[in-house]
Subunit: 525 residues, 2 copies
């Protein structure tokens, strides 16, 4: 490999360095710069560039030397720092030159500050022109004075100050044409007449799209859902486990499973950690949770299906009744909702600006209805259905609206589902084992976000139920055998992280809460 | 589906229930029992069983009713509870009858207590016989008096008390023949002449194997590694992300990758979250980490390779020098080691009983050596090698021993690896870019546990390096494009959770720290 940039660096950086060293305020003596490639700021006879060495393109930062320089975060730029000279590193979001000055906006995640540079004793016309020419989205280092402003800068998060630049260096230049503009991608759909960005363009250019303050907020909140999930369960004495994603057989019925070439044979991708978390219960872990990839080969192109999502699953023993587990799940969700509401105020507000939604409402403890009560509500609303008939998606949504109207909650639990619509390992209801089951779904804004149940912990009965479901017992031998040597009664459930985030925030598409979504038609980026 | 057990339940449980209700101490009025199937405790004329209704097989717990009964954890059974009547639910580990009495050991995760039942006014011969006949590993409910003992029960964790049983009910019966015995599986290899269990038998019957106190401790400690990893990085302002496991191209060179059928086309399983975590850096997340499945189609049948493992990866921006990141990683590891040492004292001691190992030693801050210093140490020890030659596994281990001897640490960082042995996205060392790189490995007990580096954040240079490595640029277009629109300098690294756990505890095989290990020959259970 050739030394790609030491030539430039060796000759041109010294001048910049010299200038830099004069700046007694800074400890940045050792930075090595190269000058801008353009010609305008080349010294020409008398017309010497007074700003020489104060701007240009930095050599690629390759860890030449460690520089002990305080770089301020944009959020730190407040009137507390008035008249202080600071360094910042941020993206150039926009710039606008106007005669001898150039206004620009710097962005760092969700924070923005207005910058300003104008021709003067220390600032040359060439430098202002250079700044005005920096491509949007480039990362730049700016040194300047924090100045308070008489009128609030309404368009930025840092409204009381602006930054008067004296040095501007490009750390990493963006290409001149962006596939999408951050302003467009940040605009609510409701602002008619102005450009917005369609979903495929966003996803094709996800790295830029993710830079919007809305996306920064969505994924911070999603990390919060996951953190709260673990926090609550850790406090309840759960152990975190990791279950295999590559499995030997299509364990949950065989349909909708991805096949993997495994050396000379083949394997499958797990459709859930279900069987393994149960095996851990039988292996005496008592209370377990796991967060990890879940894979569904469903050819569903809807607003709420992904072929790969993040499952957050739990499973626990109970003593006498699966409602002991339901209580823990109830507490889990209420704690997640409270945690989001209290700790992510800013993120929720940020997302709401682009994607307005009613604040998420919940009760404590959560509303619990039996399946047949839900069906009764639907019937009352004119829907004709049997009380053990499966809920269609429209009916599920309608029920959500009915529940909201009656109980003023966006979250509720539907308990005692019909046995026929649940997986083979679901425990039948002892009071009517042919019709009902000890299973439940949780709903947010009228959409299902969790399915769970008491599981059958008796190997013989489990085998019998699997056979009834037409499952080849040999393919799940390891699972069934797990219950042959003593297994406690247990129940659990799992959520999709993306779906909970989507519904909590009232987003209209799960692709908005998946960093790099996967669906039947999308595998990139 | 038929009602499988309501017949039994309806007729037989009432007697048991009646007896139960008399027990004024207990609030267990509503429990429903069925009697033991055997004949010995059937009332026969005058020979009425005085213990009738105090023992037997419980009907499968199907959440009939919620019972408000305090069930004590075995660890709570101490002399504080002396002479108190308590209920416990635990596994029957062993039992031994001796005339009119039967001693047994109850186990709950890592806790054990001695139980005792003897023929008396309330306890029939039949009942003692029933208890003696319960299969090992069955889960049983026992009610009895906690009694202090004059001589410590050396074989149990609860040494000051034993439990004098008055009721014994089988919650879930184990089959009579166990594929392996917990005692055998718990024995150190050093105890000659006594049975131990070989690895394949263990893994074939993993659910039972995992019940040993050693395994309970290993996986609790592993959860601790993960928790500490997140805790430290959360405190440093990192955001947790989730990267896709199904990817469109074999991104990191093409070899050793699992192929997946993806609807009508095909896809691959990610060999690391590398590219995606970097894309998140370019998407302004600044500091990210992710924990998730990592897949390697390597046909390596060694003590330290798995085809699927849990990767805990981080990536972060830095200002001037990748050592800013190395400092965070250093702190991360020191914090993990301290956290394990301080919070998992018992687990470490438990594992050490079966698998003795020297306590893990580390320095604060960690020892850092340059690659060439490591090579110099090896040369001094008689190894002939070039200073930029790759480290063979034996040399890696030897270096670990040399470092331990010289610096008394089991953990160290080797910095500035030869460029030639690193992936295409590694940043060359600016001082000798043809030979060295800004990359590092971390070692525990002489084995590599983390590889990391400053990454190339310049799209053109990245493309150039990828081409030099013979990578088809089209297959990683999304990745390279991620750096075209401004990207900050960044570095990171990733660990395998199983390997860190194995080496921290000094285990000899990574299959000991993977719940359900996957290797070229093992896909089940």
């Amino acid at each position: 490999m050739d030394n790609m940039d030491s030539g430039d660096e060796g000759q041109l950086s010294k001048k910049a360095l010299k200038k830099q060293q004069k700046d007694a305020e800074k400890a940045a003596k050792k930075a090595q710069y190269k000058k801008q490639d353009g010609k305008e700021n080349e010294p020409k006879g008398d017309d010497k560039d007074v700003s020489e060495g104060c701007y240009g393109d930095l050599v690629m930062i390759q860890s030449r030397e460690r520089i002990d320089r305080k770089i301020y975060a944009l959020k730190e730029l407040t009137s507390d720092l008035a008249d202080k000279k600071v360094w910042v590193r941020a993206r150039l979001q926009t710039s606008r030159s106007k005669g001898k000055q150039c206004f620009f906006v710097l962005r760092q995640q969700k924070w923005t500050v207005q910058g300003l540079i104008y021709v003067g004793d220390k600032i040359s016309k060439q430098m202002v022109k250079f700044v005005a020419g920096i491509h949007k989205e480039s990362i730049i280092d700016v040194e300047g004075y924090v100045r308070t402003v008489s009128q609030k800068v309404e368009s930025c998060t840092q409204q009381d100050v602006e930054l008067h630049a004296e040095q501007v260096w490009v750390v990493s230049a963006a290409e001149p044409r962006l596939p999408l503009l951050i302003e467009d991608a940040s605009r609510p759909d409701s602002e008619e007449g102005l450009a917005t960005v369609n979903q495929d363009t966003r996803l094709d250019n996800r790295v830029i799209d993710l830079r919007t303050t809305t996306n920064q907020a969505i994924f911070r909140l999603e990390a919060g859902v996951c953190k709260l999930f673990r926090e609550v369960l850790d406090n309840e004495g759960f152990v975190e486990i990791h279950t295999p994603k590559i499995i030997s057989a299509a364990s949950e019925g065989g349909a909708n499973v991805f096949k993997v070439s495994y050396f000379k044979g083949s394997a499958y991708l797990a459709q859930s950690p279900q069987l393994y978390k149960q095996m851990c219960i039988s292996a005496d872990f008592e209370k377990v949770y796991t967060v990890g990839g879940v894979f569904r080969a469903e050819d569903s192109n809807t607003h709420r299906h992904l072929t790969e999502f993040v499952g957050a699953d739990m499973e626990m023993c109970f003593n006498y009744h699966y409602h002991e587990v339901l209580d823990v799940l109830d507490k889990l969700f209420v704690s997640i909702f409270k945690g989001l509401r209290d700790r992510y105020v800013e993120e929720i507000a940020t997302v709401g600006k682009q994607y307005p939604a009613e604040p998420f409402k919940f009760l404590e403890p959560s509303l619990r209805l039996e399946y047949k009560e839900g069906v009764a509500m639907l019937r009352e609303a004119g829907i004709e259905m049997e009380d053990d008939e499966d809920l269609s998606t429209p009916n599920e949504k309608l029920l959500g609206r009915l529940v909201k109207a009656k109980y003023d909650t966006d979250f509720y639990i539907l308990d005692k589902f019909p046995l026929a619509v649940r997986p083979f390992y679901t425990m039948p209801d002892p009071n009517n084992p042919a019709k009902w089951s000890n299973s439940y779904d949780f709903f947010m804004r009228g959409e299902e976000i969790m399915s769970g149940a008491q599981r059958i912990h008796d190997a013989k009965f489990l085998e019998e139920r699997a056979k009834l479901h037409g499952i080849d017992i040999e393919t799940i031998k390891g699972y069934i055998d797990a219950f042959r040597y003593g297994a406690p009664p247990h129940a659990g459930g799992g959520i999709g992280l993306e779906r909970v985030t989507m519904l909590y925030l009232g987003l209209d598409n799960i692709r908005k809460s998946s960093l790099f979504p996967r669906d039947p038609k999308r595998l990139t980026p």
